[in-house]
Symmetry: none
Subunit: 423 residues, 2 copies
């Protein structure tokens, strides 16, 4: 690929919170990843504080080196949001009131029942020659062209930045510069470690042809990308299909999703298509599984609800777990996981009941049951299963792994795939 | 503050994995945080790929703008580790063999029982006039001074970068430039928007003296920082105290935490110190509140558990919500929130019962009850309260705001602070 001729650019992120190390630059990473995936080359990422000399210098340098520039941050309504003003001065384009934006702000102010303050009005003032990026006002942000370089000014709020970048900026850039698109496949994997995968894939690179393999850990998942550049979509697609089959041959049961789908979305689709309902008995996960399940719109179709049985009393009173058994085996045990799963299935009259009980730490562990010991249970009308696992990491990591394992149990159970072996 | 005279500098991180968005720039954030905390000002962070023109441009620009420059990445033994070579060319200083480093590599090679390859030897070649940073060879890295600017070249491996930065680079910089440490306060706020705060704080800057005020949105919270430079800790501390009182005077009830504490930690401490137990009835939050509460170690002391009553059947069967009332008022209503709170308090035998029922969207809204309509309820032995709120945003944002509002209710209720007004 020759990037000398076309489609290279840079990212400038503005904010004292970045140069002081207070916050991670997630916006730059997101933008760089999305631009790269679209076949647009990012040559430089610069972070500067909210001050005139550094921002102005970065803008002027970008004009010399880039064809497009994504600038994020400093578009809000507070004192230190000064990007528009700085751009106006640096590029010698006086600020003028964008009527459209002003009306959108007025509308918003009315809807929220608040007053139109000068700081809110400020958001409607843009450097001369700017164009509003989201004409329906879903997010503030504008574009201007200076000496042939396309500048896109986006808000620092991640949701708004991502929305404008994906829906407006990248499509617009691609419409200007025809490029050899990069085609992607994503396979999401759970239950294999990075060294496991390295071992399994030791000889696969020789079969990859022009397909580039990438591994991206998203704890506790690993996302595998297959990417290939090419103009003829059907050739590229065939080649990606071929190599994807090679990968599936090696690790099929561990691949829980293709593309951008989350595990909870996959589980939801499976439950819906099999006409099954689910309920949860959560001890150490404390509600995390329910939270993930209900992040999916429409989950009320298959999710009945759950019981967060953090205390033993809750296990006994709400789930019918036997107090004698609890005394004998403890709350973190195989029989407790079984009785919880069966109890919640009956209490909520669902087809499947899933339970989690474990020691999230950092306290509460013992020699026999160290921190990270977790039992998962599953009950349906015919059988009750439970297995013991051992997870590592801090409290939140143990909770996250437990929740992911429980969701993966549902996926594997519904698709007749063997459950991951326990201890 | 005048940073024009001393101690300002910048960070340059090198690696294609950064400009392509493959990895998060944790090194830049760490270095920026450590330098800032040491009273050294970071003016700019630049990330460029492993290629000559961009790295050379960044180095030359640093000479014009900075007093010190931290460069990370590209010092390893692989093909794309080309920093030394690029620096040599860009600064016109031929590479020469560092005898000390060469002997350290020889020693390492012997100890590991491997062969001394050219790529390993490459690590001993440095630009003329460089000085090894770790004479005992714990990490490779070197320093050179060009036109009065101190350049520190550190490896990209985080452990090695951090070790050299903390043990060698920062102490050395501080020995050259006597500097004033920065002292921080953080106040975390919920219930005020950024425009609200801008309006309330319109005149406060005149009272801030040398204290610098910063606003950092962490949806749905806003974190306010007060920072001040100074040598005499007690003077600085008094000044920060004074200004903090000014801020508290204006927005006291909205400040839910000072420092790094989370809302769920604050709520946990309050429940513990007041000897109260809590249970939850979660509908639209789906378990998120329980998840957050149980992210705090030791939460079993005050958290009894909860019921995720996603279906109406769950509300009726597990919480004793009346089906006639549900038919009349709907699941998202004031009486439902009250019955849920009271029901879960009784079912789990806790002092406080808190409930959330609402429409998270994107579907399920109506004219009377649009998406984002949420009722919060709270019951204790003597009274039952409920209020209606309206949140904006997507499904996850509505859930997050609902959970934060519910936790803030507990904080306000336990501390006798008026609840945030409802609709």
């Amino acid at each position: 690929m020759d990037f000398g001729v076309t489609m290279y650019g840079e990212i400038i992120t503005i904010g004292d919170e970045l140069t002081s190390g207070r916050t991670l630059n997630l916006n730059a990473r997101y933008a760089a990843g999305r631009l790269t995936a679209s076949g647009l080359k990012v040559n430089r990422i610069t972070s500067v504080g909210d001050n005139y000399p550094m921002v102005a210098e970065a803008l002027r340098r970008a004009i010399e080196n880039s064809r497009f520039v994504i600038v994020t941050g400093g578009l809000g309504s507070t004192e230190d949001d000064r990007t528009s003003e700085i751009v106006a001065k640096a590029l010698n384009r006086p600020l003028s009131l964008d009527e459209k934006m002003f009306r959108l702000i007025e509308k918003h102010v009315k809807a929220m029942g608040i007053t139109l303050t000068p700081s809110l009005e400020k958001m409607a003032w843009m450097p001369d020659g700017s164009r509003l990026l989201s004409p329906e006002g879903r997010a503030c942000g504008f574009c201007l062209v200076e000496k042939g370089v396309r500048f896109y000014f986006l808000p620092g709020v991640p949701e708004q930045m991502r929305y404008l970048l994906d829906k407006v900026v990248i499509p617009e850039l691609l419409s200007f510069w025809q490029t050899q698109a990069v085609h992607w496949r994503i396979l999401k994997v759970y239950g294999l470690s990075e060294p496991d995968l390295a071992e399994i894939f030791r000889d696969i690179e020789s079969k990859s042809g022009e397909v580039v393999l990438g591994f991206y850990p998203h704890f506790p998942e690993i996302h595998i990308t297959l990417s290939m550049r090419g103009e003829d979509e059907s050739t590229v697609s065939k080649e990606l299909d071929r190599f994807e089959s090679e990968v599936i041959n090696l690790i099929g049961p561990y691949v829980f999703a293709r593309g951008e789908q989350t595990l909870e979305e996959v589980v939801g689709e499976l439950l819906r298509s099999h006409g099954l309902t689910l309920s949860l008995a959560e001890s150490c996960t404390g509600g995390l599984i329910g939270h993930r399940i209900t992040n999916v719109s429409g989950s009320s179709d298959y999710f009945q609800g759950g019981i967060i049985c953090y205390s033993n009393a809750a296990k006994v009173n709400l789930l019918g777990v036997s107090s004698e058994m609890l005394q004998e085996h403890g709350a973190v045990s195989d029989p407790t996981a079984r009785q919880m799963a069966e109890g919640v299935r009956k209490a909520l009259k669902s087809d499947l009941g899933v339970s989690v009980t474990g020691i999230a730490g950092p306290t509460g562990g013992s020699k026999v049951k160290p921190v990270g010991t977790v039992f998962i249970g599953l009950a349906n009308a015919n059988e009750i299963l439970a297995r013991k696992y051992r997870f590592w990491g801090d409290r939140e990591q143990v909770k996250l792994q437990s929740a992911t394992m429980a969701l993966d149990w549902v996926r594997r159970y519904v698709t007749n795939t063997p459950l991951l072996p326990g201890l």
